[in-house]
């Protein structure tokens, strides 16, 4: 009865709780529950192929992950892909953004060209570039042959070159996203700053380092956060280009999780691997957020 009365005539505090409850409920359902369930599953020996009930194994899966050479290999590959492709996409994206920011008479063709790679599905990009890098039918080897290279390079069959091919594809695919964010940032820089710098006799390079980069920093950080998090989850492009091969030399953490959970039907161990990836993403995001805090 008292509760009904409180709801009929709520205090400010009760009203606040009532207003916030739907949002919290939604958040709990779509964010907290899946993550909680993932962590819960990681404490079980839960194999869909084995029959029988799931067995509670405590931290055993976590101990196994730390001793698993495939996990360390996939983590190394994931971190390497992140370290190469994120700055790569930033540099290429910045170049594209500056190009698109030039005073073209017709802006739309440039912006459309900028959008196209971003609009293509990741797996499709992987398939296209797998074809480009095919040792026999690929356009890359064809160009090299015309340039005088006699022996075709086995791009996707040599670990180093396969890794390079994947990184090139990821940079191609993701730099347009970077460029779009940076283009928006570039357009917010007041022209008067450059005019003043010109009057002061600053060179174009000085203007770039002293005006463009500092003014663009908030956009750069936003773009880096998004790109880094997605880079840590890299799956589609290496999956379609090499399936993680040759051997498992280009296998990423997301691919290992997919393989363990979907191909091996080992949900318990796959969940543990996913928890590790989640923690990795969380740490990296934390570093960025701290950086933003410092900047602010």
């Amino acid at each position: 009865m008292a509760l009904i009365n409180r709801l009929r005539d709520p205090s400010d505090k009760t009203l606040a709780v009532m207003m916030l409850a739907p949002a919290f409920l939604l958040l709990a359902l779509i964010v907290v529950y899946p993550i909680g369930r993932l962590i819960w599953n990681s404490f079980f020996d839960l194999r869909l192929s084995g029959g029988g009930e799931a067995k509670f194994v405590g931290l055993d899966n976590y101990a196994l992950v730390l001793q698993d050479p495939d996990f360390w290999n996939a983590t190394k590959n994931t971190v390497l892909i992140t370290l190469i492709t994120v700055p790569g996409a930033l540099v290429v994206g910045l170049g594209l953004a500056m190009l698109a920011n030039l005073p073209f008479k017709r802006q739309w063709p440039v912006r459309l060209a900028l959008l196209l790679p971003w609009a293509l599905p990741l797996a499709f990009c992987g398939l296209i570039f797998a074809w480009f890098f095919h040792s026999e039918y690929g356009v890359v080897n064809d160009v090299m042959r015309r340039a005088g290279q006699t022996e075709p390079r086995m791009w996707l069959l040599e670990p180093t070159w396969a890794f390079a091919a994947i990184c090139i594809t990821i940079v191609w695919k993701t730099s347009s996203f970077m460029a779009l964010i940076l283009l928006a940032g570039l357009q917010m820089i007041p022209k008067s700053l450059y005019e003043a710098a010109e009057v002061d006799g600053a060179s174009k390079l000085q203007q770039f380092w002293q005006i463009t980069i500092p003014m663009l920093m908030p956009s750069i950080i936003v773009a880096l956060i998004f790109r880094t998090i997605t880079a840590l989850q890299t799956f589609d492009i290496p999956y379609t280009m090499t399936k993680g091969g040759p051997g498992n030399s280009t296998e990423t953490l997301a691919m290992l999780i997919h393989k363990t959970t979907i191909d091996y039907l080992d949900v318990g161990y796959g969940s543990t691997l996913a928890v590790f990836m989640f923690v990795l993403s969380l740490c990296v995001t934390g570093v960025y957020l701290k950086r933003i805090g410092n900047n602010a």
Binding site: S49, G50, E136, M154, K243, N248, Y264, L265
Partner: protein
């Protein structure tokens, strides 16, 4: 009184209607069958279901299809069956899957419907009879067979007066001779699958088996002879060095072999049974009337062995219409159904008798060449964790063929990883 009579009349009618409804519900059985993707010919399976329905009034068969590959179908069925979902009564599975499904408790053993194991499996080729029997119980019934064949350019072998090779060394010599004589830089000697796909599991096993070694014992435990396995892989690499097999063999998938052979660019090609129709019927085939089929060669001193494929019908452990569904499976694995699939779709039968059927021989004459190949075929390792077994073998085989690992290293890796899975 009038009202009372009306009420009784209505009650009677209602009881009659409900009785009829119950009666028709008893007579009308709905069975839902999962019939795989296009490779498993759901179009033909639907026709078989229609035939069954015509003979069994009151039975309605709904068909579900999905998943282009064996792996995708396994993933889908794994999800449905793990949830103990009773909506699918009967499903089609790859030859590599009965052990996994039986191990997971997803399959209802069929002995109570098919009779004792030995009698029920007697009509079938040994590989199919054994692959569908786990711990003495029938867990699935064969639907149709498949196997890896050695396709070859009959015209080129005749032109250069070369007999069908019996060993891989003879094949390499024959291919080299033809390649040199033809003087076509694009003509490959032999096409095999080295990309990390299911076909690479067979690429690993073919030369290994032909040395007379077993990959696993009857209990499914790994019995890998590492020296023989390395010898098999070395043989492929030697063929690459001789120019018989392409240098980028680790990129070659099943359709690549089909397309290149079809384009007249290959002397010998290892591929599945379905490829025959592609060589014979496709509009862009340049080898129509020029193709021969023979058993796969063996390593010197060994015996020919091939990798079998094929599909089976299984009864869901969660079905609510088990007797009716089992009766359907009995029909689907009968010689009558097998003959229909052979004549209508060139799908290889699983029992020797059907290969010799006059109508089958007339419709698909090459089956007489295929029968001994399928009969000598072997099943890939049976394991409840086949997904993992396959992944380990194909990934490592591909890496060895890409020369990123030495054969000895690759075999040692396969051995150490599989020892944990197949024990």
């Amino acid at each position: 009184m009038h009202t009372r009579n009306t009420f009784l009349g209505l009650l009677g009618s209602a009881l009659l209607v409900s009785g009829l409804a119950t009666g028709s519900a008893l007579a009308d059985t709905k069975i839902r069958a999962f019939a795989g993707g296009s490779g498993q010919r759901p179009d033909l399976m639907r026709k078989l279901f229609d035939q069954y329905q015509a003979k069994n009034p009151g039975v309605t068969i709904e068909m579900e299809t999905g998943g282009a590959t064996s792996e995708l179908q396994r993933q889908y069925l794994g999800t449905v069956l793990n949830a103990k979902d009773p909506s699918i009564d009967v499903f089609m599975i790859d030859i590599v899957n009965p052990a996994q499904y039986a191990g997971a408790g997803w399959i209802e053993p069929l002995n109570s419907y098919m009779g004792d194991t030995a009698t029920a499996m007697k009509p079938f080729l040994p590989a199919y009879a054994s692959a569908n029997v786990i711990d003495g119980k029938i867990v699935a019934m064969p639907a149709f067979a498949d196997a890896m064949f050695m396709y070859y350019r009959r015209d080129l072998l005749e032109k250069h007066k070369i007999a069908e090779p019996k060993t891989w060394d003879e094949l390499a010599a024959a291919a080299t001779k033809i390649q040199k004589a033809e003087g076509d830089a694009n003509l490959q000697g032999l096409s095999i699958q080295g990309a990390p796909i299911e076909g690479a599991v067979c690429t690993f096993l073919l030369p290994y088996w032909s040395q007379g070694h077993e990959f696993n014992d009857a209990a499914g435990k790994l019995t890998l002879d590492k020296a023989a396995a390395a010898k098999g892989l070395n043989q492929w690499l030697a063929m690459v060095d001789q120019g018989v097999v392409k240098k980028n063999v680790a990129e070659v998938k099943t359709p690549d072999t089909v397309n290149e052979f079809k384009a007249g660019q290959v002397v010998f090609a290892v591929n599945w049974g379905f490829a025959w129709d592609r060589f014979k019927d496709d509009a862009d085939s340049k080898v129509v009337g020029k193709v021969g089929v023979m058993p796969l060669p063996a390593v010197a001193g060994g015996k020919s062995a091939t990798c079998i494929g094929g599909w089976q019908w299984a009864l869901s452990a969660f079905s609510k219409s088990k007797p009716e569904a089992a009766k359907l499976i009995k029909f689907l694995s009968s010689p009558e159904a097998s003959k229909f699939l052979a004549v209508q779709g060139s799908l290889l039968p699983t029992s020797l008798g059907v290969y010799q059927d006059a109508d089958v021989v007339k419709a698909v004459p090459w089956f007489k060449d295929a029968a001994p190949v399928v009969a000598a075929g072997r099943s890939r390792p049976q394991s409840k964790d086949y997904g993992q077994v396959s992944d380990i073998i194909r990934t490592t085989t591909s890496a060895v063929l890409a020369r990123t690992k030495k054969p000895d290293e690759g075999v040692a890796e396969i051995d150490s990883r599989l020892r944990r899975v197949m024990r």
